[in-house]
């Protein structure tokens, strides 16, 4: 008898990582905070007026870049319902869509910022994306980090180098050390040291910082997050009318049924320059997030199969127009 080749498998022993449909680029048309809302619809119209030409540009850039010119571009809009709750979806969303339409813009997806922290509904169960990303932070090690001690952490903060040593004397009689500068690990000549607050806690309640949630938002748009191997917060169409309460709104709503996929190889955000410091913080965080190896491979294989060359480092897949 010839040898029999036996195979045996156990589902619980395998790692199954779902894949996510991907557009070429996800364009964020805007990000609405309470202060923008309070400024009235004129502020929103102004935002869309500034964005419109850039969306047209990015469409044509990708049409040239993609073989066959079939560029998949999706647009999204983020509403802050985390730091402050204002208005209701029933009141706000139609106004946003109308203001966008005035400039021939279609908002394909609408997302809630609080979902980047945590979200729970019957469909997705409970997902704490912010915790998930926090667990995937791998601190940028200063030179001579050999692993002998745990990474130096200031709880709730993340930086891109070594902080200044403590200069104030610990005891009243102690001698103060002269100030020493912090240093950036990957400095070119001189340092640009960045230290980002990720969250703060009052009692048991943790509030994630705006840059941290924005980093989660970028990772979600890049399709690089998985929870228990599944794609978290897949966009869902709205059933019925816009609800009167934010909590009854899905995390990501697909508004346009013909839209290209929500997640994309790259992202573009069109923002006011006042967000520049936030985005520097976002990039500091993103450059220290370890994305699952298997997910990175999936995305790389997919882009290669359609002959789209993708930047290897994920921060390089995130771009901006500050206008």
């Amino acid at each position: 008898m010839t040898p029999v080749h036996a195979t045996f498998g156990e589902v619980a022993a395998e790692r199954r990582i779902a894949s996510v449909p991907l557009s070429h680029v996800s364009v964020e048309l805007g990000h609405l905070y309470m202060e923008d809302f309070e400024a009235g619809p004129a502020r929103l119209r102004e935002q869309f007026r500034r964005v419109a030409p850039w969306l047209a540009t990015i469409r044509s850039v990708w049409r040239e870049r993609v073989p066959g010119g079939r560029a998949r571009v999706s647009t999204c809009f983020l509403v802050d319902d985390y730091f402050s709750r204002f208005s209701t979806p029933a009141e706000l969303v139609p106004m946003i869509l109308e203001a966008a339409a005035e400039h021939d813009l279609t908002i394909d997806y609408l997302a809630r910022e609080s979902a980047c922290a945590q979200f729970e509904d019957g469909r997705s169960g409970a997902v704490e994306l912010a915790r998930l990303v926090e667990d995937r932070l791998v601190d940028d090690p200063p030179p001579d980090t050999d692993g002998s001690r745990p990474p130096v952490k200031e709880t709730g903060w993340l930086c891109n180098g070594s902080r200044s040593p403590l200069t104030t004397p610990l005891q009243a009689m102690g001698k103060a050390r002269p100030w020493e500068p912090p240093t950036q690990n990957a400095k070119r000549g001189h340092s640009i040291f960045v230290d980002v607050e990720l969250w703060d806690e009052r009692g048991a309640r943790r509030t994630w910082s705006c840059p941290f949630l924005a980093a989660v938002w970028q990772l979600l748009r890049l399709g690089l997050l998985r929870a228990e191997g599944r794609v978290p917060l897949p966009p869902v169409p709205l059933e019925g009318a816009w609800p009167g309460d934010w909590d009854r709104l899905p995390a990501v709503v697909r508004i346009n049924p013909q839209a290209a996929p929500f997640s994309a190889y790259t992202t573009l955000s069109v923002l006011s320059p006042r967000f520049l410091p936030v985005e520097l913080a976002v990039r500091t965080i993103l450059s220290q997030v370890a994305v699952d190896d298997e997910v990175l491979r999936q995305v790389a294989a997919r882009s290669e199969s359609e002959r789209v060359r993708l930047e290897e480092e994920l921060v390089d897949r995130v771009s901006y127009v500050f206008t």
Binding site: F8, A12, P141, T145, D146, P150, E228, E312, E313, L314
Partner: protein, 311 residues
Amino acid sequence: MLVIGEVHTGLLQNSGEISEPACRQVLGLMSGETVRVSRRPIVHALSPERLTGVDCALPAASGSRIRGVGTVVSRCAVTGGRVAQGSSYVRVARSETDRRLSWSHYLARPGVVEVLGKAKAADIAEGFAGDGAPRGHGCLDLTAITGRFLDLVQTSPLLNRRAPFRMPRTILRWVAETGEPSIGFTLHTEQERSLRLTHPGPFTPAVVDLCEDLAMHDWLLTSLLVVVERARVGATPAAEVAARLSPAVDHLLHLWMPAARVEERLTPFWESLERRPGFSRQWRSLVDRVRDQVAVHTLALLSANAETGGR
């Protein structure tokens, strides 16, 4: 160039073996990631992998300073609800530049440490796993990294920290390279071992599974030897010998499953170690000895009972 790693193995700090759901909780080191569990032929639970960033000197037998930057992969495992392991490794690769790049470059290749400047694989291999290799200050410390991960498991609040017997952790340092198949296993001190492996084809995580499997069986063998030694067979009354051997019967004997989780193409490495030095041969002989002692004691008890019963 090469892959270097370390496996720490110890008795789980709990009075009895833990259930599969408890394994999942103890090993849940990362939110949103599942603990992988296989049940055949023995329950084996594996934590998600985590990364640690390093920028430091790599071990070098020649003493030359080799700078490496990148990430170390670490994970923990619990086998049979009883044996805990911490395991870390890095793939050492040449960097395309001589300077350190932005951190996102290194995070795009998890588990790789890039060497800035010149280095020879043999120098690193010998420096890491060679006998009496000088391990200077500021040199990549896989022992500390792996130890911390194993501590995370061992100090879990789900464990009662009342292990049935004390047994030191063993440390296996391993080096894997591509080439003509060969394997070399060396015992250094009581707790330290090294493994040199040359495998055909590129490195895959299956090599890590093999090293972890070998480390676990080496630990089982070491522990059983210690238990038998502590029993002082022949120098102590039979009842006491049997009592001292009973933890081995309760907690160790059923765990021997060589190459259970080793990919088929790597099983010849296990088989060659079975020929020389013959792990299973020694294990069987020890198990026989334990069982014989217990049997002798049982017989003694039975005949004592018969005697008292006959009166």
